[in-house]
Symmetry: C2
Subunit: 238 residues, 2 copies
Amino acid sequence: MFPSFAVTVDVVILTISDGDLCVLLVRRGGDPYRDHWALPGGFKLPDETLDQAAKRELLEETGVKAPKHLDQLKAYGDPGRDPRSNVVTVAYLAVVPELGGIRAGGDADRAQLFPVRQAIQRRFELAFDHRDILRDALQRVERDLESSHLATAFVGQTFTLSELRAVYERVWDTELDAANFRRSLLASDASFVESTGTTAAPGPEGGRPPEMFRATDSWKNYGSPVKRSRRRDPRDRR
Amino acid sequence: MFPSFAVTVDVVILTISDGDLCVLLVRRGGDPYRDHWALPGGFKLPDETLDQAAKRELLEETGVKAPKHLDQLKAYGDPGRDPRSNVVTVAYLAVVPELGGIRAGGDADRAQLFPVRQAIQRRFELAFDHRDILRDALQRVERDLESSHLATAFVGQTFTLSELRAVYERVWDTELDAANFRRSLLASDASFVESTGTTAAPGPEGGRPPEMFRATDSWKNYGSPVKRSRRRDPRDRR
DNA sequence: GCAAAAGTGTTGGTGTTACACCCATGG
DNA sequence: CCATGGGTGTAACACCAACACTTTTGC
């Protein structure tokens, strides 16, 4: 009676790896787009929510359990975006601190991290309209970093301020003043981190032992105290 | 072979009417939820994009042509959200300056504006999960007002700064300083308004004739120069 | 071994900018 | 009466400098 569609969910999994913002892609083992890199995803079942479907596919195809942040991104339904039939996909954005035990599963015969900005460029072809989805996901994470505590989803349970600052710097592809970063995060009543009182071991290059922090749950939707520089210098835009 | 779904689009149409932020709702003429107020919407066709479907339903059910702002909001696909079958809906947010010639059409036997915040309260029952959608739409427009030129979509081709300021004030339910508002909008190189050089007639209460402005297309994704107050006084939060 | 250098994290200071708040003037 | 323009104090922050604590290097 009504036009019939298949509904899929695709997940953009972002993490910081090797000093770069990366996305997890899987290589498709079946048609269409066999052997192309694609976002992990699959068909929604009638008796699960979209969120549940995203979590399930995430686990089945990549082994990633319980991401620290999973949010709906956008729906994509252009006619012909899937050569098989009428398919509407709902894209999700997942942010994880580190990928412990990536493994390929389901329709994917390989899973691998790629630097996001390289994947968006024409380095290689992505399946379906996944390049568009990836572009939207990057914009989204750039924006949400400024208006929420999303940055803490990129790091572990405890972390140093340098690690957290690196998240902002790598996502925004910019540099932040360490002194102001610390002050902004600690002085504000809208802060979302607190000191654990302990210090970590210095990095391989030495240096003063950094203080360890953890995320607090007292964040009240006040936005992030860390703001992108208002200096609109065209030179620092890539 | 794959689980089959119907895909619908629902449109949250917002406007400023009578000094209040309002949403256009239609009264359903058919089952399910007959005689309930609902968001205008309907089924997506296989050979149209989601955006096209939203525009088409908007026109068919309410007579609203070419909204100044139409953006995808979110997809909703909880099992059982539609008693008929498996239905995934993609919600859209439309912002229009004024509703010229609202008329009911299609499945709707009446169309009417309601103050958004009243409609979200338990004043009357909305069909399906449309109350959730409306809540999300309000949050979205509050946020986007701060990070884009969305405010200009609420006003006509030309407008006074007071009209534009009223948009911010009614959406955020707050008050803005008229002097700072003018300076922020005009001084910034990220501005999205320019003077037409003409003045309008004063309002019914008299006053100095205001300058008329128009929106420029030179806006470059720099966010809105108008910011919500950082004063986190708990008293002004409703 | 030991001192100096270099690397990293933390604290302090200063000039500039944005803006909340108030007042004056114009139509 | 409302729109516009100006003025002032405060808070945020970009930029710079100093200091603390570590590892590495040179002798």
